[in-house]
Amino acid sequence: MGKNSKKKNKVILPPQLPPEVDDDEVVVSDEDVEFFRGNEGHARALARLDRKSIDSYVTRVAHHDDDEVERLYEERERRRKAAEALRPKSNKDEDLEVDPVDALPVKTLQGELVYNNAKKPRFDEISNGPESKSKDKGADAKQATQRGEQKARSKETKGDGRLPNVQPQIEAPNGKLQSKVLEEVEEELSAEELFEKKKAQLAEIGMSMLEDPESNIRSLNDMLNICNDKDQKVVKLGLTSLLAVFRDIIPSYRIRQLTEKELTVEVSKDVKKMRYYEYTLLRSYKAYLQKLISLEKQPNFYNVAVRCMCTLLDTAPHFNFRESILASVARNLSSPDDAVRSLFVNEGKHRGEATIEAVRLIADHVKLNDCHLHPDSIGVFLSLRFDEDIGKDDSEEEKGRSKKKKQRQNQEVPKQLPVSDKKKAKQELISKAREEVDAELRAVSFTLDAKERRRIQKETLSALFETYFRILKHTLSTSNSSHYIIIRGNAINVSTDGSHPLLAPCLEGLGKFSHLIDLDFMGELIACLKKLSGHTDHHSQILHDNTLSVSERLQCCIVAYKVWRSNLEALNVDLQDFFVQLFNLILEYRPDRDRGEVLADALKTLLWEGKHQDMIRAAAFIKRLATFALSFGSAEALSALITLKHLLQKNSKCRNMLENDSGGGSMSCLVAKYDPEAKDPYLSGALASVLWELSLLQKHYDSSVSSMASNILSMANLNPTQNPVPISIANPLEAYRDLSMERELSKPANKVPPLNCKKKRRSKDFVALSPTVLQGSDFLADGDELKEKLQNHFAVLRGISENERLRAELNHTLSSINLYKEYKKQKKRVKSKAGKKKVARA
C-alpha cells in the first residue's frame, strides 16, 4: 500500500491521510491553514529555529559524501515510484547507512553545539527539515502535547512546499571547515555517550507514544529502527521499550483487514484517521514480531525475545498474529515466563481459542521431539481448566429452562386464557423482540455459546490426552525395550534422571484430569500404569528392569488409584497390585534421591484417603510404616505415623498390635511369624507382630514425631470405638511438607530461650580433654637440653644485635666516603666562583 513506502522515504506524512492518497498530493486542509494563521507567533518561532536546524543539518550532511547524498535522493525518488513493491522489512539496507555518527552533536558556524537527538529522521529533515527539527526540539523541551500537535499540523501545511528551498542549502560552501571540526568532535564522543543518547531517545519516543499514541503512531517505526542497532544493549532496550508501548496501546479488539469493497467506500475523516492508525499499528506490530522471531534464534537475544513474546501473549492474546507468537512461545516453554499458563487460566481474554491452539502446538512439539523435552513444557497443562459442567450443565439448563418454560407456560396458559388476543399478540411481539436482542447481544458480547465452548474443550481434551498417552507409550516402549536378567532385588535402577523427563508431569496431569478420561481408555491406561509401576508376574523368575525411578512408580500408583476412584462405578479393576507395589516401594525410598512429597502423597491417596483396607493388608502396612519411621527423617516419619494412626483408627482390630499379648499379636493368621522383608502384604504376618518401634519413636529428637508416637501408643488403652485426642489434623502430605527441610529453613529462626542451668559444676574438672592428653602437660625439658637451647637463643640474639651494630657502623662510614664527592664538588664550585670573581674583577 501507498503508506508503506512513506516510511522508507522518510518523508513525514500527515498521519491523518488515508492510505490511498499519494505522498505528493498533500491536501492542505482549511483548518490547518487557519490554525497556522492564527498562531503566527508559533510559526515565527519555528522559523527562527529553522535556520539553526537547517545549518546543523547541512553541516551534518556536508561531511558526508555529496555523491552519497545525491544517490540517496535518487533512490528515494525511485522508491517513491515503486512504492507498491516495498515491504517494511526491506528498509534494512537503508538503515545500515544510518551512521551512528549522526547522533553526534554538530558544531555550527555560530559555535553552538547542536544535538541531533533523532538519528533516524535524518532524511525526513532533508525534505521537511524545519518541521521535524522543531518537533524534536519540542520533545526535548517536554512541551505539552497540544503544542506537538500544532507543530505537526504546521508541518503538514509547510512540509512539501519548503522542500525545494531546503535542498540547495545542502551544497552550502561551509562544508570543509565544518567537517574538520566534526571529526574532532566525533572522536571525543565515546560509545558510552552514544548509548546514553540512544537510551534517552528511546525514552522520549516511548513517552510521547504513551502520551498520545494516535498522533505519534509513526514513532513506532523509529523505535523499530533503533532495534536494528549494532549495539546489543541498545537493541535489547529497544525491544523492551517497544514491548511496553505495545502493551499499552494494543486495543482490546482484533484489527480486521479491510475488504476491497470497504476501501472503495468513502468514509469520514475520523474513520480514515482511525484506519491509518490501526494500519500503522498493525504493520509495526508485525515487523516487531518478525524481529522478535528472528532474534529468538540468536543466543544473545534469546531471553529478551522470549520474554517479550511471552508478555505480549500474556497481555494481548486476542490480538492479531497470535498464532505466530504462540508457535514460538510453545517452542520455548521451558523459559521461566508463565505466558501459556496465564493463557490457560484467563480464558476470558481470548475465548478459549488460544487454549486449543496452544495445546495443539505443544502436542505437536512433544511429538516432534520424541518426548525428550523439558518437564515444564508439559507442566503448563496442569493449569488448564476444564469446565466439567459445560456439557451437563447446559443440557440440564436447557432442560431446566424448557421445563421452566413449560411450567411458566403452564402457569401462564391458564392465566392467558382470559386475556384477549390482542394482548397475546402484543406479548408475542415483546418476546420476539427480546429474542432478537438476545441474539444480538450474544453476537456482540465476548462469550461463546455453550456448543462452541464444548467443542473447543473437547478438542483441547483430546489433544491433551493424546499428548499424555503418547508420553506413557513412549516410556513403556523404552523401558521395556531393554530387559535383561538381573540379580533379584535390584528392581530399581538408580540412574533414571533424564530418561523420561516428561513422565512426572504427565502422571501429575493424568491424576488431575483423571475424571475426564474417556471410559474406553480406562482399562488400557490402568494396564499401562500397572506395567510402569513395576508390577510383574509373581511366578516369573525374570524381572524386567524397570527404568523408572521410585517416585515415578509411586506416581503411577497414585494416578491409577485416582483414576479408579474418580470413575468408581464404571470400573472393574483390581487395585491390589498397586498396593503391593506401594508396600514394596516404601522400602525402596531414599530420602535424597526420591521425592518425599510423592511418597507422602501416595500414603495419603492410597492409605489415608482409601476407604477400606482389609485387616491383614492394613496390619502389614502399619508394621511397615512403623519400621519405616525408625529409619527416615522426621518429615517422612511423621507422615508415616499419621497414616499409621489413621489405619489404626479405621481398623480397630489392628490395635492389638499395640499390645503384647503372650505369643505376639492375638490375631493369628496364615503366617505365624512376622517377616519384615516380605514382598506381599498378605504373607508378611504382620498381625502377629507388636509395634515396638513406637516405644523408641517416643525418644525421637523431633518433638512432633515423639508426641505422635505417644499419641498412637495411648490408643492401646482405649476401647476400639474410642479414638485418642487428635494432635494434628494434617494429612500425611501436609505433615511432610510442613516438616521438610526447605520449609523448616524458610521458617523464621526460633529464638533460643535463655537457659536455666540446673546445677553448677566445680569448674576445676576437665570435661572434654582426656586425662591421657593432660598427662603430658607438666612438661619439663631436661636441664641440658634446656640449657643448650637457652644458650643458643642467647647467641642468636647476640649475633643479631652485633650484626645491627656493625651494619650501622658500615653505613656510617660509607656515607662519609660518599660525602667526599659532594665536598669536592662544592670545593670546585667555590673555586670556579672565585675564578669568575677574579675574572670579573680583572
Binding site: 522400602l587 525408625l630 523408641l696 535463655p754 634446656l786 640449657k787 645491627e804 667526599y820
Partner: protein, 651 residues
C-alpha cells in the same frame, strides 16, 4: 664525636629494633609451623615463606584474609575490644633501684667469654665479613682525610648538622613506649657486667633469704636477660656477656620466683583473686609489688621473644604457678592472654597444651578476663581451622577440645555466646538455602562452618547431662540436618559422614533417637567402580575432606572408604540402641540394604566387614527378639522397657 656517634647508633638501633623484633617473631612462627627437625631451631632461621597456607596465628589480623571465608569469619567471630589492650603497657622502665649492699664480683671470667664462642649462629659469618668491610672503608676514609684535611672539618660539620636535624625530627615521632634507655632516666641502670660468680652468689643469697636485697639485683638481671636483643644497645643489657650467665639467670628466676613471692607475700597455694586484691592494701604489698610486676612483665617480654617451643613450654609451665599474681594487673594479664592464645594456636602439641593450661588457669582465676579470653580464642580457633589437611586434623581436634574446656568454665555465660554463634550459623544456612547461590553455599561448605558446628556439638555433649540445654540441642540438630539437606550427592559424602558423627555424639549424650540410617543410604548404595586403577593407591582420608575431588569420585578407594565409614557410623548407631526392645526394627531396613550390598559387591576387602556387621546385627537381633518374646509388657510401658534394657545390659 664518639659520644655523638654512639648516640646516633643507639638511635639507629632503636629504629631498627622493631624490625628486628618482628623478624624474631616471624622466625619463631616459622619454627612453630615446621615440625622441628634437628635439635634447635637455629638452622631454620631462613626458613622459606612457602608454607603460607598453614593456619595463621592469632597475632595476624583476621580481616586481612580476603575472600568469602574472611567474611564468614567476620560473621561468626565475636567482636573483641582491641583498643583497650594496648593502653596500659606504657608504664615506664621498671628498673628496680638496687641496694649498694649488693656486691658485684668481677671474678675470673675471661676464659668464659672465649668459651662462649662455641655457640655459633648464622650471622657470625656475615658479621665477620662486615667487620672486614668496615675496616676497609675506614681506611679509605682515613686516607681521604689525610689527603685533604679540610674535608675532615667539613665532615665533622655535616655530621653534627645532620645529627641535629635528625634529632629534631626524631623527637617528634619518638615512641613513648621505649624511652627506657634515654639519658633522662632518673635512675640510671647499672652497667656493671654480670659474671657467673655474681649470679651464683645472688642466687644463694636469695634462696636462703628471700627478703635479701639481692633479689632486686637478680630481678634486674632477669629483666636485662629478658630484654636482651631488644634493647641491645642500652648499657644495662650489655651486662650479660656469656651464655652461661643468661641461662643461670633465666632458669633460677623462673623456677624460684613463684616460691619466693609466695613466701614474701605469705600466701598459700590456693589463693584466689579476692585474696590478692585484699593483699593490695597491705603494707608489704607496697614493697614487693614492684618486684612482682617486674617479674611478670619481663616474663612476658621473654615469652614474646622466645622462638623455641621447648623453652616456651618450660617458661609457661613455670609461669603457670604464679598465674594468680596476674590478677593484680589486668592489663598485663590481657597481654599475657594475647601471647598465650597465639602460642596455643601454634602447631606444636606440647606448647599448645601448656599454653592452654595457662589460659585456663588465668581464665578461671580472673573472671573478668574470661570474656576476652573466650572471644579471642574462638576467633583464633576459626582462623586456624580454616584449612584442614591430614597434618593438622589432630591439632584442630585438640583446639576444639580446649575451647570446649574453656567454654565449660562458666556454662551459664557460655550458653549466651553459644546461642549467638549458633544463631549466626543458622542464619548463614538459611541464607544459603534461600538463595542457593554459589557464594552462599560455599560459606556453609567450609571448614570454618563445620568446625564451629563441631565445637558446639562437643560443648553440648560435655554439658548436656548437667544443664538443661534442650533448646540449643534442637537448633544444632536443625543445622546439622539442614547442611545435610543442602548438600546431597556423593561428592559431599565426607561432609555428610561428619554430620552423622556429630549426630551420633549428640544422640549418645542426650539419649535421644536420631534416624541415622536415613543419612547413610547414599553410602550404602552399590556403585560400579572402575576396576582398572590398581596401580596408584590414593588414600582417601575422609576426615580431612568435605567434598570429594572429582577425579576420585569413581575410584575404588573412595567407594571403599565410603562404605567403611558408613559401617562405622551405623555400628555406632546400632551400638547405642542394641539393648532396646525395638532393636530388631531399628536394624530392619539397614540390614536389607547391607545384605543387598553384600550380594552385589565384588570387592573382597569390603565384603568381609559388611558380612561381619550383618552377622553381628543379626545375632543381636535374635537375642533381643528371643528376650522380648518372653516378656508380657506392651510398648507403652516405659518403665518395663527401661528395666528390659537394663537386664539386657547386665547379660
Amino acid at each position: 664525636m664518639a659520644k655523638k656517634l654512639g648516640k646516633k647508633a643507639r638511635k639507629f638501633a632503636r629504629k631498627n629494633l622493631q624490625s628486628v623484633a618482628k623478624r624474631n617473631r616471624k622466625q619463631r612462627s616459622q619454627f612453630v609451623r615446621r615440625p622441628r627437625r634437628g635439635g634447635s631451631g637455629r638452622g631454620d632461621e631462613r626458613a622459606g615463606d612457602g608454607d603460607e597456607e598453614m593456619p595463621q596465628r592469632a597475632g595476624d589480623n583476621l580481616m586481612n584474609n580476603g575472600g568469602d571465608v574472611a567474611s564468614l569469619v567476620n560473621g561468626l567471630e565475636f567482636p573483641e575490644d582491641e583498643s583497650e589492650l594496648n593502653s596500659d603497657i606504657s608504664d615506664s622502665d621498671d628498673y628496680l633501684s638496687e641496694d649498694s649492699e649488693c656486691l658485684y664480683y668481677s671474678d675470673n671470667e675471661g676464659d668464659n667469654a672465649v668459651n662462649d664462642c662455641f655457640v655459633q649462629d648464622g650471622l657470625d659469618g656475615e658479621n665477620d665479613q662486615m667487620n672486614i668491610e668496615i675496616k676497609k672503608q675506614k681506611k679509605n676514609l682515613n686516607k681521604l682525610m689525610d689527603k685533604d684535611p679540610e674535608f675532615a672539618n667539613y665532615l665533622e660539620k655535616w655530621r653534627s648538622e645532620s645529627y641535629r636535624s635528625k634529632e629534631d625530627s626524631d623527637d617528634d615521632d619518638m615512641d613513648s613506649v621505649d624511652n627506657g634507655a634515654d639519658s633522662s632516666d632518673t635512675n640510671p641502670p647499672n652497667d656493671k657486667i654480670l659474671t657467673r660468680k655474681t649470679i651464683n652468689e645472688w642466687c644463694q643469697l636469695v634462696a636462703k633469704e628471700p627478703k635479701s636485697p639481692s633479689l632486686r639485683s637478680l630481678l634486674n638481671a632477669y629483666r636485662d636477660a629478658c630484654r636482651f636483643g631488644v634493647h641491645s644497645k642500652s648499657p644495662s643489657v650489655q651486662r650479660i656477656q656469656s651464655t652461661e650467665v643468661f641461662y643461670q639467670i633465666i632458669t633460677f628466676v623462673l623456677s624460684e620466683a613463684d616460691n619466693i613471692f609466695r613466701a614474701l607475700l605469705d600466701i598459700s597455694d590456693d589463693v584466689n583473686k579476692g585474696k590478692i586484691m585484699n593483699l593490695r592494701s597491705a603494707k608489704k604489698w607496697k614493697t614487693i609489688e614492684p618486684l612482682v610486676k617486674s617479674y611478670l612483665q619481663n616474663s612476658l617480654d621473654l615469652l614474646s621473644q622466645l622462638t623455641d617451643n621447648q623453652i616456651l613450654a618450660f617458661v609457661l609451665t613455670r609461669l603457670r604457678a604464679s598465674a594468680v599474681l596476674f590478677s593484680a594487673y589486668p592489663s598485663t594479664s590481657r597481654r599475657l592472654l594475647k601471647i598465650l592464645i597465639r602460642l596455643w594456636a601454634s602447631g606444636d602439641h606440647n606448647l599448645s597444651l601448656s599454653s592452654f593450661l595457662m589460659i585456663r588457669e588465668v581464665a578461671s582465676l580472673l573472671p573478668e578476663c574470661l570474656d576476652l579470653c573466650l572471644n579471642k580464642s574462638f576467633n583464633t580457633y576459626l582462623a586456624s581451622s580454616k584449612l584442614v589437611n591430614d597434618g593438622n586434623i589432630k591439632h584442630i581436634d585438640f583446639l576444639t577440645d580446649c575451647l570446649v574446656e574453656l567454654y565449660s568454665l562458666d556454662v551459664q555465660k557460655s550458653c549466651e555466646s553459644a546461642t549467638n554463634s549458633i544463631g549466626q550459623l543458622n542464619a548463614i544456612l538459611r541464607q544459603a538455602s534461600k538463595t542457593k547461590e554459589k557464594e552462599e553455599l560455599r560459606k556453609v561448605d567450609s571448614w570454618q562452618y563445620i568446625n564451629s558446628v563441631n565445637l558446639w556439638v562437643r560443648f553440648l555433649c560435655c554439658n548436656y547431662k548437667d544443664y538443661n540445654m534442650h533448646p540449643l540441642l534442637s537448633s544444632v540438630v536443625q543445622i546439622l540436618r539442614g547442611v545435610a539437606h543442602l548438600f546431597p550427592g556423593t561428592r559431599y559424602l565426607p561432609l555428610r559422614l561428619r554430620l552423622v558423627q556429630m549426630l551420633n555424639e549428640l544422640s549418645s549424650c542426650s539419649q535421644m533417637f536420631f534416624p541415622i540410617p536415613s543419612l547413610l543410604f547414599d553410602c550404602l548404595e552399590f556403585r560400579d567402580t572402575s576396576q582398572k586403577e590398581h596401580g596408584q593407591k590414593t588414600k582417601v582420608n575422609f576426615s580431612s575432606l568435605l567434598k570429594v575431588p572429582k577425579n576420585l569420585l569413581k575410584s575404588r578407594d573412595f567407594h571403599e572408604e565410603c562404605i567403611l565409614s558408613a559401617i562405622d557410623a551405623l555400628s555406632a548407631h546400632f551400638a547405642q540402641w542394641c539393648y532396646h526392645v525395638s532393636f530388631p526394627e531399628v536394624a530392619t531396613i539397614p540390614l536389607i540394604l547391607l545384605k543387598r550390598l553384600y550380594e552385589q559387591s565384588t570387592i573382597e576387602s569390603l565384603r568381609r566387614p559388611i558380612k561381619r556387621l550383618i552377622d553381628q546385627v543379626d545375632e543381636n537381633r535374635n537375642i533381643v527378639e528371643r528376650k522380648r518374646d518372653g516378656v508380657s509388657f506392651s510398648p507403652n510401658d516405659t518403665t518395663s522397657i527401661e528395666s528390659f534394657i537394663h537386664d539386657l545390659q547386665i547379660d
